[in-house]
């Protein structure tokens, strides 16, 4: 048995994707944990930007929301939300947009809007786009992070909230989209990257102890697998302890304020 959980290796591997010094627009939840782990380990000069307007946040604990006080108090500066979306995101200042997803298809298109086939009367109403529909197009590139299951990795999205590679090939280009799109998808089972020509997400990395059959079973389409599959380096002791300390600090901070 490994000495780490599948969520832990996902977060550690996702953190490793972020280069030191890059400017990252951080989605809430899983991406926020990974982006802050990167900052606390190999990428101390990473610039974390949250859509609430905080630029250069260095939170001690993970925020529960996208606008916790911790993000503002530790930021280099805080700008208004219209400024954030107009000058900083649309203005092309973001290297990496880091998103989560409820559903993802083989071309990296994302649904966070509804489950079901009737938009007006959905089976499950999800929160919606938030900033994601423009992060997906205006960020230099996009990383996506989510747990892999056949329910989330679907053959056909119920709704396209945020565009990936559209129908594949160069079909994204016809929308006049400035950003490159989802260049990697990090899951609890491995890493998927788009095929250079078809843009179909292909399994190129797999976590230690995970089998290709397991990944196929957790994917709702016939998954393409790279000829040479890279096996992820397991989390190092320093990465794990940083992540666990971060989660422990966060737990204490979120529990300590009584109503």
């Amino acid at each position: 048995m490994p000495d780490y959980t599948s969520d832990e290796i996902m977060t550690v591997v996702a953190a490793r994707q972020l280069a030191n010094g890059c400017v990252c627009f951080v989605g809430i939840g899983l991406p926020s944990a990974a982006a802050n782990l990167a900052r606390l380990t190999h990428a101390p000069d990473i610039v974390l930007i949250y859509e609430s307007g905080t630029i250069g946040s260095r939170p001690e604990v993970l925020p529960l929301s996208i606008g916790d006080g911790e993000l503002a108090e530790t930021a280099l500066t805080v700008v208004s939300v219209p400024e954030m979306f107009r000058y900083w995101l649309q203005g092309g200042r973001i290297d990496v947009g880091f998103l989560a997803a409820a559903q993802l298809d083989r071309f990296g298109n994302i649904n966070t809007t509804i489950v079901g086939d009737d938009y007006a009367h959905p089976k499950v109403r999800l929160p919606g786009a938030g900033g994601a529909s423009e992060i997906a197009t205006s960020a230099g590139e996009v990383f996506v992070m989510l747990r892999q299951s056949a329910r989330a990795f679907v053959a056909k999205l119920d709704f396209t909230t945020s565009i990936g590679y559209a129908e594949g090939g160069d079909s994204r280009a016809r929308f006049g989209i400035p950003g490159k799109g989802p260049t990697r998808v990090i899951t609890d089972l491995g890493i998927l990257t788009p095929d250079p020509r078809s843009r179909e997400l292909t399994l190129t990395g797999i976590h230690p102890g995970v089998t290709v059959d397991q990944v196929r079973a957790a994917t709702g389409w016939a998954l393409r697998v790279a000829d040479t599959l890279e096996i992820t380096k397991p989390p190092a002791a320093a990465e794990l302890s940083s992540l666990r300390d971060l989660h422990a600090r966060t737990k204490r901070a979120h529990g300590e304020v009584a109503a």
């Binding site: 809430i28 939840g29 859509e51 609430s52 307007g53 905080t54 925020p63 529960l64 929301s65 996208i66 606008g67 916790d68 006080g69 993000l71 503002a72 108090e73 805080v78 208004s80 939300v81 219209p82 954030m84 979306f85 107009r86 995101l89 649309q90 298109n109 809007t113 938009y119 007006a120 009367h121 959905p122 499950v124 109403r125 999800l126 929160p127 919606g128 786009a129 938030g130 900033g131 994601a132 529909s133 423009e134 197009t137 205006s138 709704f159 396209t160 909230t161 565009i163 559209a166 994204r172 929308f175 006049g176 989209i177 400035p178 901070a253 979120h254 529990g255 304020v257 009584a258 109503a259």
Partner: protein, 284 residues
């Protein structure tokens, strides 16, 4: 000029059934006390606007105040669903509501357009998204200089903007800081406004370039300490993340929700009494 008044008086005189209201706050400085007063006064048929409808919008929807919701992200951040919002859209409870859905970039720009006195906002947005297929107010416009096709959305022009801020002075000038969201734009876009504040001071002490709303663009100013709780007021109190987690259990069930609202909001006279009751429950 802003009128310093009680919150009950401000809501009674400024908000009418059928109005379009933007109660803004981006995680920070959410006008919770004002939302409760709208619920206590049983306002109906409201069109409510908010980029990030959260707990207080869940309460307004569940208590039947809302006819239509205009929004860009409806959830309990970091926790999960807004159950009353979902129940209204999925099952039409307590009655069906209309909704108009955007993304954050468009709504932020639509507020700025409203504040600017423009009819619409333009942005490079919604590329490849399905949202424009369902929200027919999302349209396109060709740039007259480059020919680029861009998204256009109508300006937001609420009847009333409702926000919470840290301070006002005795003349009704308002100062806010920290995560300031779209509150300045919302007030400047609206015909009328209500601002609740943590405290009223002799001198605002606002540095140049601070977010200040001069008295002459503000309608009512009401002193409601802790009026943004369980969200937070930077420099005054922290976000009560534990309560956001508890809300999930309270709002999940229609009856539990109704009982909670009756006990803590309907049967309390004001926000002080509400907070005392919430604290008593938490200690019990």
């Amino acid at each position: 000029m802003a009128k310093l008044t009680s919150l009950a008086d401000a809501v009674a005189t400024q908000i009418h059934d059928g109005d379009t209201i933007a109660m803004e706050g981006f995680t920070h400085l959410i006008p919770v006390a004002a939302g409760h007063e709208v619920i206590r006064q049983k306002k109906r048929d409201l069109t409510v606007i908010r980029m990030t409808p959260d707990l207080v919008y869940d309460q307004l929807i569940g208590m039947g105040c809302v006819k239509k919701l205009i929004f860009s992200w409806g959830g309990n951040p970091g926790v999960g669903s807004l159950h009353r919002f979902r129940d209204a859209i999925e099952n039409g409870w307590p009655h069906p509501i209309e909704f108009e859905e955007h993304g954050h970039a468009a709504m932020a720009s639509a507020y700025a357009a409203g504040a600017s006195g423009l009819p619409f906002a333009v942005l490079r947005g919604y590329l490849g998204s399905d949202l424009p297929k369902h929200n027919l107010k999302i349209r396109t416009i060709e740039c007259p200089f480059t020919g680029e096709i861009l998204a256009a959305v109508p300006a937001i022009r609420p009847d009333v903007a409702v926000i919470h801020a840290q301070k006002a002075d005795r003349a009704g000038n308002v100062l806010l800081w920290g995560i300031v969201g779209v509150q300045k734009e919302a007030v400047l876009a609206a015909k009328r406004s209500i601002v609740t504040v943590e405290e009223i001071v002799d001198d605002l002490g606002a540095p140049p370039n601070a977010v200040v709303l001069p008295s002459w663009v503000v309608g009512s100013v009401c002193c409601v300490p802790r009026g943004a709780a369980p969200s937070y007021a930077h420099g005054y109190y922290a976000r009560d993340n534990a309560f956001y987690k508890r809300w999930d259990g309270i709002a999940r069930d229609r009856e539990t929700f109704g009982a909670w609202m009756r006990c803590n909001v309907i049967e309390t006279g004001d926000f002080d009494e509400y907070e005392a009751r919430i604290r008593a429950h938490a200690d019990a």
